[in-house]
């Protein structure tokens, strides 16, 4: 009987039946699912060889198959799912344990921070390391450190959690195999001792590049957009807050701190359209201060408390009568993507020149 040919992972392209490979099981995760026959569990993870790494789904997996072991795997198959090739194991698939070690070539796709997406959870990214925060926690009776950073490239920024590995703040870094996850509508990268860290030379300006709204497909921090405000939320304007807990108060006093006097603040939510698409934006007082000309004294004046109508008119004038450029963080919520503004300005001649240059460059 002729020996069945073993395919390398890099040669697996498209849909192949009766596939035979030699690979290392890099990870095994289980997921429970409900089918017409009741609850069932399937497994998924990554396998790799010296040519690359690929995801798998195991509809059936022998209990003897373990992570970090090398197997000759016969009669599995590959299929393209969401534009990515994936390997599938089922009842027909045979696993033969091999007592040998193989080198695994990790191949992570490089992404600009703006383009990170949950379809690819292990990625390569580059950016400037900023805003270090250190937290201590205890695991198995041992004190450990978690380092938190912001990683910024020319397209946006993302939070980074590093378990035990300290990065050099202020330096540009390339991370290979960082794990992407999502929490509370924001993306975050996690790095561990398995993540490749290389310090590189990058030229990153103080401001992110302008992004078209059509190109914002996922949560991303610190992006810059431009456009017109095409509608403003009815409840935009003067709001009251509890100075103790900072919560917005709809009543005359805070239910949790009824003794505290209320404090005035400004909030606006609106839709920005740049011709390519539109996005919902919210903003607090900070980014609106210069644009509206509303000073803190005006909000704090107890002799003449601010007037709702007056504030709303100032907001309308500031936001509705000029093309704007806005910087902020985009998060995913139940309504889709929305941006929380950190800076809002009117488009002036200089900014218009920058935007035009970016537009022109697309046709060169």
């Amino acid at each position: 009987m002729p020996e069945e040919k073993l395919l390398k992972i890099s040669d697996i392209k498209g849909d192949i039946l009766d596939l035979n490979i030699k690979a290392k099981i890099l990870s095994i995760s289980a997921k429970e699912t409900e089918t017409s026959r009741g609850k069932t569990t399937y497994h998924y993870g990554l396998i790799g060889d010296d040519t690359g790494v690929i995801s798998y789904t195991a509809w059936a997996l022998p209990s003897t198959v373990r992570e970090k072991d090398v197997y000759e795997i016969k009669r599995c198959y590959s299929k393209t799912y969401k534009d990515k090739v994936r390997i599938y194991f089922d009842q027909k698939t045979e696993f033969k344990f091999l007592s040998e070690e193989i080198d695994v070539k990790r191949n992570y796709r490089y992404y600009s921070i703006k383009d990170l997406n949950m379809n690819d959870k292990f990625v390569a990214v580059e950016g400037m390391v900023r805003d270090e925060k250190v937290k201590e926690y205890e695991k198995d009776g041992e004190k450990r450190k978690i380092y938190q950073y912001t990683l910024r490239d020319q397209t946006g920024s993302i939070g980074v959690s590093s378990f035990g590995v300290q990065l050099k703040e202020g330096k540009a870094v390339r991370l290979e195999g960082a794990r992407l996850d999502e929490f509370n509508g924001y993306y975050r990268l996690n790095i561990s001792d398995k993540t490749g860290i290389e310090y590189v030379s990058l030229n990153i300006g103080n401001e992110p590049d302008f992004t078209y709204i059509k190109d914002i497909r996922n949560p991303v921090g610190d992006v810059m957009i431009s456009g017109f405000v095409i509608s403003m939320g009815e409840k935009s304007g003067l709001i009251t807050r509890c100075p103790e807990c900072r919560k917005k108060i709809d009543d005359i006093r805070c239910p949790d701190h009824p003794e505290s006097p209320v404090e005035y603040d400004i909030f606006a939510y609106f839709t920005v359209d740049d011709g390519t698409d539109y996005i919902q934006v919210s903003s607090g007082y900070g980014p609106l201060k210069a644009l509206t000309g509303i000073e803190e004294d005006y909000l704090k004046n107890t002799n003449r408390p601010p007037l709702r109508k007056e504030v709303r008119e100032k907001l309308d004038r500031a936001l509705m009568h000029s093309a704007l450029y806005l910087r902020g963080n985009v998060r995913q919520n139940t309504q889709g993507l929305s941006m929380k503004a950190t800076d809002i300005n009117r488009i002036d001649k200089e900014t218009l020149g920058k935007i035009t240059k970016i537009q022109e460059e697309e046709f060169i």
Binding site: H321, I355, F363
Partner: protein, 272 residues
């Protein structure tokens, strides 16, 4: 970008809307929606544009406005109803000569000869800065240039599909609009739109337009005793002299913007 229901506002030049002679319908009965489909591959029911408010006339509950962008004029008609008093207030805040931004829904009427006119029912009218107008003009030219590239791709490859155009870097929205437009406007000379997209970034009138300006003004003046001259007659006259449509459009726009001519009725001009 989001799974949203809001109808997008299309940023297009007036000349692209003027050359539009086709609509696409969706749904039936009360749910029927009619979208304009331009030769430049823009499809929608709402437009957003900036320009100079050249005329504003009120007649009872109706207000008519003409707004000039660098390529021609948008025609806006507003009917005051109980539900749109905020728009009425916005309209009263703008005057002829102001630079304005208007967003509105489109409606269509067709002449017996089959010519289609697009009217705009405003939802938002506001005075804006000249930088804002420049921003709109340049962004609209950019969007038009992208669609023109997609049209060229589609014309060069009859097998072009939404997927193949998206693969070349166009958005799904651009790809579907362009492919839909090519079913109707196969013979349309895209060169005209390309010239607009390439030259409109310049705020100043082109050299050609400046050379033609006095001649066109003189021609229009000749017809003043007859109550004005139609846009089509001006085109016919100056085409004979070898001028391009885009140059003639630009001149009319410059004369209009400078207040040297005005529109006595739709597409009929007279000296001021």
């Amino acid at each position: 970008m989001n799974d949203r229901k809001r109808e997008p506002a299309r940023w297009i030049f007036s000349s692209e809307l003027r050359d539009c002679n086709s609509t696409v319908s969706e749904g039936e009965g009360d749910f029927r929606k009619e979208f304009f489909l331009t030769p430049g591959g823009s499809m929608g029911r709402r437009v957003l544009f900036c320009g100079k408010l050249n005329a504003k006339t009120e007649d009872g509950d109706m207000t008519k406005m003409t707004v000039a962008d660098p390529t021609g004029a948008f025609y806006v008609t507003f009917f005051s109803k109980d539900f749109n008093q905020h728009v009425k207030e916005e309209i009263s805040g703008v005057q002829a000569g102001d630079e304005v931004l208007i967003m509105g829904r489109t409606s269509y009427f067709r002449t017996d000869e089959g010519k289609m006119y697009v009217n705009i029912n405003p939802e938002t009218v506001r005075k804006v800065s000249s930088e804002s107008v420049d921003y709109w003009t340049r962004r609209t030219a950019f969007l038009l240039r992208r669609r023109i590239l997609a049209i060229r791709e589609a014309r060069n490859n009859p097998e072009a599909s939404i997927e193949s155009l998206v693969g070349k870097g166009f958005t799904e929205d651009e790809a579907s609009g362009v492919l839909e437009s090519q079913k109707v406007y196969q013979a349309y000379d895209i060169q005209k739109l390309e010239e607009i997209a390439m030259t409109v970034n310049s705020a100043r009138p082109s050299e050609n337009a400046m050379k033609l300006k006095d001649d066109v003004a003189g021609y229009i003046r000749k017809f003043d005793p007859l109550g004005g001259v139609s846009y089509n007659d001006i085109l016919t006259e100056f085409r004979k002299k070898g001028s391009s449509d885009s140059d003639i459009d630009e001149v009319i726009n410059v004369l209009w913007g400078d207040g040297e001519i005005f529109e006595v009725e739709k597409r009929k001009f007279k000296s001021a």
